[in-house]
């Protein structure tokens, strides 16, 4: 049998019926291939944007030789490389040296690999010209523009990492270009101490290094393969090329990249949204194909039966009818691809100047293949059901007769014709209607619940923040009860804070600083014991105990057994010996702005700012009641126990996120009150005795170190002026039990040695004036903060917390999530409409004789329409009621569960009007569609109706 001829004949003689199928096929081809175009464009765009931030290279190799790189290329470890040479380190002697940057030359290959390009001006072409990264200029507080002369103090490289000639030189260049920032990203993504050698300023290749100096080589190298293979290449370079373990060649791996580039985020989100839209429309089109094809196949049942009766196998039937869709798909392919190609190209090109559209033949072919494959695959779904038909079933519809014979029906003595017809039709034809009700149920559930997940809670929390920007720059290394004698960095100075305050957008700047303190005691209350172990320095030792013995009766004894242990030394023993006090409780002390302190929630006493400033009084944060909890968890190696202290408010744990399974061991009430005298002790230790970054993040003391010899103790007795209960002051200063708080003046009186040794603010909270914070204002603020503090304004620096940016991100993410949710709901809506419309269309066509008969015995068009509307009502009501009931069950069930587990409800609200709106829209659309079909049917004469089937 020539199946192609039959397929073509079917298409030729039933053109009208195939129009809907053809439209669905064209749309699905357009959207599926559009999706492929979009995905490839998104990937290319993403890679390009990452490259712009990090460069195209996989590795930046500092201090290697040309021979090493050549050998690596020869051995196939690297594919290609470029060379930059760092001539020196430019800085401003009036500012911190760390604010400076490296200056160097680049060969063409390095410029390409490093993706070094100017955003303003041009690249240097001759001696005396320089192009500098924007962030580097900001950090040097430079306001130079293109054409200006810029002068720097230069530490001249001697060819080794972090080594320079003893004498600095002063150099003046003409600023000819502003470069795209790379250094901030590099510092974050790689090792900052080596990344600082990557030039952030480019000079001409004609530039020579100052006398006596030797350039430091910086190579940009790329290799082929995936991420894993690139890591392998790095290992090979170390093992096969560098080989000498004493060599100080540093390989900075830039394979793994992270970016907070807002252009990338926005573009990625826009492309995701568009991709979702294409996917949704593509799926809707595929559903359209299923529907249209189902409808066509329903009309072909008799033809199928005849073909089956003359010996056609099921497989042959599949071939015959699948060819129909394949023929349409092939005919529609070229116009669809053209529409998809140019449509996506226009959309992508208009999204952003950075968006890249990839017009590759391979992508084009993949898109075409994906489209045709998708069309053919979905057409097999209705086909596989349709060809199951037996020859007799097709010719005489014996299936319906069997169904009718199976049911026991009792005659109604009196009835409304539309109602009875509707109910009987539903009884005898449930299958597809159940499916519609099910999809409708899912649609209602999704609509009711998904809108409830998104709430403005997070944005409201951000709105409640008392600051718009928080700037963090830790200056004092402190760990488990000790403070080091010199700061790692200078922190944020008062001058820098004032510089930010002078910005015209800024209303106020408040800072705080913190350090470790000990409260000395002659005896410990139960409350003191729990608080002691609430602190990080001691609770770890509890895990080593045999916890099967820990009970509500003995837990305080267990705590005291472990009292003497701290992370790296016997601090309690040291304090006891030096002060004569039997016990000590480790805690933190904070100095905050007087204005912030005044806003605290006082539960006892009074905040007297003058007495606090004089160092006479301090404020202490406590929770009036505290509980100690334990949780047993079974692990393969045996049981493990967790312990946690938690404030108790109104008889409940205040920390609602705490695992509800945690068992309460005991509670204690705080006896501290205003007017009490407390003894404080601060321990300072020489930082040189420690390697802060080794030993799994814990400071490791040098050999022979003894706290009794090296620890410097500063005791102080103060009066508790007020007891407060706030868990945080000014949003970012987090307090725990026995946190001691004073003002900045108070600190310099109580522990003057700390401020004298250079302890500045570790956090600034900046509040802007009450005007709208636009993205432009935010950008200016980031630059102001960067200029003042030397922190990076771009890159992955988390040290500047921008609430306006968080809000914008949260709103954007919420919008994206809502868009995707709405898209899925809309897709379900379209599927529902399409299924309902299609199934009624089939039903009306198949009931033509019945409808003709009903018209013959006196039924009006209205009666017939009503019988179908009543069927629709039943389907919709079933879906709506079950949808709402399931939604309610999920809503209350999930919320009860999450409330129990996490103390928070998952669904913030149950959306009511959105599903109702959808249902109303669905009803209207379906009724209109039904009415049109009934009207179309009624346009034929009764005799034509009767003869139609």
């Amino acid at each position: 049998m020539n199946t192609t001829r039959l397929a073509l004949a079917n298409l030729r003689y039933h053109t009208k019926k195939y129009i809907l199928l053809a439209v669905a096929i064209i749309l699905s081809l357009v959207f599926s291939s559009g999706l492929v175009f979009l995905i490839t464009s998104a990937n290319a765009t993403k890679k390009d944007l990452y490259d712009r931030d990090f460069g195209r290279q996989d590795f930046i190799i500092v201090n290697a030789t040309d021979e090493m790189l050549r050998e690596a290329v020869d051995k196939g470890i690297f594919l290609r490389y470029g060379k930059a040479q760092t001539l020196g380190y430019a800085f401003d002697p009036d500012l911190e040296e760390s604010r400076g940057f490296s200056v160097g030359t680049y060969d063409e290959a390095a410029l390409y690999e490093g993706y070094i390009y100017h955003t303003e001006g041009r690249m240097p072409e001759k001696k005396g010209e320089i192009a500098i990264e924007n962030d580097a200029l900001l950090r040097l507080k430079s306001s130079a523009v293109i054409g200006d002369k810029v002068t720097f103090e230069i530490k001249v490289s001697n060819g080794n990492i972090s080594e320079y000639l003893p004498e600095t030189v002063k150099k003046t260049y003409t600023l000819v270009g502003i470069l795209k920032d790379k250094r901030p990203q590099m510092e974050y993504a790689t090792d900052a101490s080596y990344a600082k050698h990557i030039p952030a300023a480019v000079v001409s290749n004609e530039e020579t290094i100052s006398a006596g100096g030797k350039p430091l080589n910086v190579f940009y190298a790329s290799c082929k393969g995936n991420e894993e293979e690139k890591w392998e290449a790095q290992n090979s370079f170390y093992n096969d090329i560098i080989a000498d373990i004493n060599s100080n060649v540093q390989v900075l791996n830039t394979v793994w990249r992270w970016s907070n580039n807002s252009t990338l985020a926005t573009l990625a989100e826009n492309m995701t949204l568009l991709g979702m839209l294409f996917a949704i429309l593509g799926i809707a089109s595929l559903v359209g194909i299923i529907n249209a094809f189902t409808s066509i196949l329903e009309d072909r049942k008799q033809q199928m039966g005849i073909l089956r009766s003359i010996g056609a196998s099921k497989r042959q039937l599949v071939f015959i009818y699948a060819k129909e869709t394949a023929v349409i798909a092939v005919i529609a392919l070229i116009p669809s691809m053209l529409v998809s190609y140019f449509g996506t190209k226009i959309i992508v090109s208009n999204m952003s100047e950075h968006a890249i559209f990839i017009p590759q033949i391979s992508v084009l072919l993949i898109s075409a293949a994906v489209g045709v494959l998708a069309v053919c695959l979905v057409s097999l779904i209705p086909l596989s059901f349709a060809v199951r038909i037996s020859p007799m079933q097709a010719v005489r519809n014996i299936e319906k007769t069997r169904k009718l014979n199976r049911k026991k029906i009792k005659s109604q003595k009196s009835f409304k014709v539309p109602n009875l017809l509707a109910s009987r039709t539903l009884i005898f034809g449930k299958g597809r209607l159940v499916l519609i009700s099910l999809i409708l149920t899912i649609m209602i559930c999704m609509t009711s619940l998904s809108f409830g997940i998104f709430s403005d809670e997070y944005i409201n929390i951000l709105n409640q923040y008392s600051y718009d920007y928080a700037v963090m720059k830790y200056n004092y290394f402190m760990f488990n009860g000790i403070n080091f004698d010199s700061p790692d960095t200078k922190g944020i100075t008062a001058n820098e804070a004032n510089e930010i305050l002078s910005c015209r957008y800024v209303k106020s700047v408040a800072g705080y600083q913190s350090f470790q303190i000990h409260i000395l005691k002659d005896s410990l209350t139960d409350y003191d014991k729990i608080v002691s172990f609430e602190k990080e320095s001691r609770d770890g030792y509890l895990y080593e105990n045999d916890f099967t013995e820990v009970t509500p009766e003995n837990y305080l004894e267990v705590l005291m057994d472990k009292y003497k242990y701290t992370d790296f030394d016997d601090i309690p023993g040291f304090l006891k010996e030096k002060t004569g006090k039997a016990y000590s409780i480790p805690s933190s002390m904070y100095s905050v702005d007087s204005a912030v302190l005044s806003g605290a929630t006082v539960i006892d006493g009074k905040i007297d700012l003058e007495k606090i400033a004089s160092g006479e009084e301090v404020v202490v944060r406590v929770s009036p009641k505290i509980g100690y909890y334990m949780q047993k968890e079974a692990f393969p190696d045996g049981d493990f126990y967790f312990f946690m202290a938690n404030d108790i408010e109104d008889g409940k744990k205040s920390n609602t996120f705490m695992d509800p399974k945690m068992k309460l061991l005991g509670t204690a009430e705080c006896s501290l009150k205003a007017g009490d005298i407390i003894d404080l002790a601060e321990i300072t230790i020489k930082k040189d005795h420690f390697s802060p970054n080794s030993g799994e993040g814990k400071p490791v003391a040098e050999e022979g170190y003894d706290i009794n010899k090296e620890g410097k103790l500063s005791p102080k007795t103060v009066k508790v002026g007020a007891v407060i209960s706030d868990q945080n002051l000014g949003s970012s200063c987090w307090l725990s039990n026995y946190s001691i708080i004073t003002s900045h003046n108070g600190l310099s009186t109580i522990f003057p040695q700390l401020t004298a040794s250079g302890m500045n603010f570790e956090t600034l909270e900046i509040k802007l004036k009450d005007e709208e914070i636009t993205p432009e204002v935010n950008e200016i603020m980031m630059e102001v903060i960067s200029q003042a503090t030397g922190l990076n304004s771009t890159g992955g620096d988390f040290n500047i917390e921008s609430i306006p940016e968080y809000k914008a991100n949260a709103q954007r993410q919420q919008k994206t999530a809502l868009f995707i949710g709405s898209g899925i709901i809309l897709l379900l809506f379209f599927i529902c409409v399409s299924l309902i419309s299609n199934s009624f269309s089939i039903r009306i066509r198949h009931s033509s004789a019945q409808l003709g008969t009903l018209r013959a015995v006196g039924a009006s068009e209205q009666d017939l329409r009503m019988s179908f509307i009543l069927q629709l009502r039943t389907i919709l009501l079933t879906g709506i009621i079950s949808g709402f009931v399931i939604s309610l069950l999920l809503f209350f069930g999930s919320n009860a569960y999450t409330k129990f587990l996490f103390g928070e409800v998952f669904f913030k609200k149950l959306a009511i009007w959105q599903p109702i709106l959808l249902v109303v829209a669905l009803t209207i659309v379906c009724i209109i569609s039904l009415s049109i079909q009934i009207r179309k049917m009624a346009k034929f004469s009764i005799v034509e109706n009767i003869r139609a089937s």
Partner: protein, 221 residues
Amino acid sequence: MAILECRNLSKIYAAAETKIAAVDDVSLSFEEGEFVAITGKSGSGKSTLLHLLGSLERPTSGEILYDNKNFAKLGDNKLSVLRRRRFGFVFQSYNLVDELTGYENIILPVMLDRKKPDEEYLKNLFEMLDISDRVSHLPAAMSGGQKQRVAIARAIANRPKILFADEPTGNLDSKNGAEVIRLLHELNKEFNITVILVTHDAQIANSAQRILTIEDGRVVE
């Protein structure tokens, strides 16, 4: 007085470039209580004439008067009312609604008219048609003869004035066919219903009071 009359009635079907007159300028009248057979060869236009007279199809031209009122131009709703109150139809292929029981099929026109069924009348009718024990079943559980008797019961359930029967014995064996014709005659006499019957069976036609023969859409005798 004529209960049904048609004047210059025509029905023309357009096919490709040719026009076929299925009914061509026919003028006829039917008296109340008359039993008329319309006969002719296949494709002569007898069924089309019956459909036009019964308002199942609209004429291309001409008038059809019931009780001296032309209903050819009436709207669909008014025609529906006319069909369910005044006319009854019996088709060759029974045309029962599969999902409704025999009883429900029978009272369909009554229910469409929003009236209460006359149980006494229906009971007599069922007995007369010998379907009392079958009316509670769905059509799928009935024989052809039973289905046609249910169809006849439906046609006269609302006490129509005219019963149109289009080849009512076409799908039945001779015994059941004869029984159906006997019943139509009995109803014609019992309820004084005008019966207009289309048949190509000369024997059935001969049992009518009047025979109209159609050829090429025209009445020839």
